[in-house]
Chain length 202, copies 2
């Protein structure tokens, strides 16, 4: 099975290729893709070779073909519905976020546990009652949640979500989550990128 | 000079080591650190060897020593002041974010261009006028900005910021920025992590 560190790079390849395609490009090389992403050509070739023979020596990679292959591998050749948990400031921002468009995801349901927020409207959504999440998810096909609750509640809420059938959580709260094996967790931690940048500042 | 792909991993090593230290741990091995991060032991040793001889064969790495080394390399053994641009929903969330604590950063200044927001209070900040950013930054020592303005304004605002002396931008808006060489840009793009997770969902 493919190492997770490689799987994590594939969405970046996909994004770079989609942008090149929007620019009217049809073919690329591992060197060019590497230059765009800050990876070596050797890294790109090694990563992509895990999934098949995508490029031909001398002619490079077909961009539309590679996009299709990556969308299939990452399973984003379909639309995934997302549960947003926590309708506060960050929840409002995500409800209105345009970045999901054409990349395989959309917010489908928003929940909160504050009675003053339940029943109110955000973007095109009516905020639902978080205590009903198991019933709300039943038959919905929703397997992914974005967690935008206070840090002190994040672990407890994440456990409830996995009990309710959620398989993957994107956590914005600044706490690590401890969940059963088989539940996938990723984090949005701006400190990682901030500390990456200070390396370069004089 | 160290490849950027390695620099990008160092904040994750630092975070894992800081958590182990909080758990009372004093030494670790490349295997253990790798298991925590999803990297191979060989990758960890190879990355860290770029910066010196940090570990001893057989005795592993000293956690406090390695934390100190990484903080020095990433220059987070000091406090960096951040300019937050865009006091909307996401800006409010970041103004109140607890995740900066003890990791070398703090929000120092918030600006917006909406007259209804300028002069209002968010957390302990009074929102300042974005059109005055050059004067506000003069002598402030602020070199880093977090960008939380609408996507349609992000490029223009980023250019203004670099003209005003900002050297690094963490961009939350879903658009790539085109800025002079020497200006460092990182992105918060939840789609990358979402697409990473769908690989694993049946
Ligand atoms: N990673 C990032 O870039 C980033 C940036 C800003 C904020 N944050 C984090 O995002 C989270 C939300 O921040 P915010 O400013 O929107 O906070 P907020 O207080 O405005 O909103 C939190 C919401 O969660 C709701 N909530 C609390 N417990 C709940 C539960 N058990 N079930 C459902 N809803 C619940 C609250 O009622 C509230 O509406 C915090 O953890 C914050 O630290 C992350
Ligand atoms: N990466 C992520 O995880 C994520 C999540 C949610 C939203 N976003 C993005 O964050 C950005 C902000 O989202 P939001 O929901 O807070 O939007 P918002 O409309 O609530 O806030 C935007 C703010 O920017 C201000 N602004 C506009 N032009 C400006 C300028 N030239 N100078 C200074 N301030 C200016 C506006 O007055 C407003 O207060 C958007 O680009 C959105 O797509 C990113």
């Amino acid at each position: 099975s493919i190492p997770d560190i490689i799987v994590g790079r594939l969405p970046r390849y996909l994004q770079a290729l989609q942008r090149m395609h929007q620019e009217g490009r049809h073919t690329t090389s591992s060197k060019e893709l590497g230059d765009r992403l800050g990876y070596t050509a050797a890294q790109i070739r090694k990563d992509l070779s895990q999934f098949g023979e995508f490029g031909k020596q001398g002619t490079g990679y077909s961009i539309p073909f590679l996009i299709g292959q990556l969308q299939t591998i990452l399973k984003v050749d379909r639309m995934w519905d997302i549960l947003l948990v926590g309708a506060g400031s960050l929840g409002h921002a995500i409800a209105n976020y345009n970045g999901f468009a054409n990349r395989g995801f959309r917010i489908a349901l928003i929940v909160d546990n504050d009675p003053n927020k339940i029943g109110t409207k955000i973007a095109n959504f009516v905020v639902q009652d978080a205590s009903q999440v198991k019933a709300l998810l039943f038959g919905s096909g929703i397997k992914i949640a974005m967690l935008t609750v206070p840090a002190s509640n994040a672990q407890a809420v994440a456990e409830e979500l996995t009990n309710a059938g959620i398989k993957a959580i994107l956590n914005y709260a600044p706490v690590p989550l401890s969940l059963p094996k088989g539940i996938h967790v990723e984090y949005i931690d701006p400190l990682i990128q901030l500390q990456h940048m200070t390396y370069y500042i004089d």
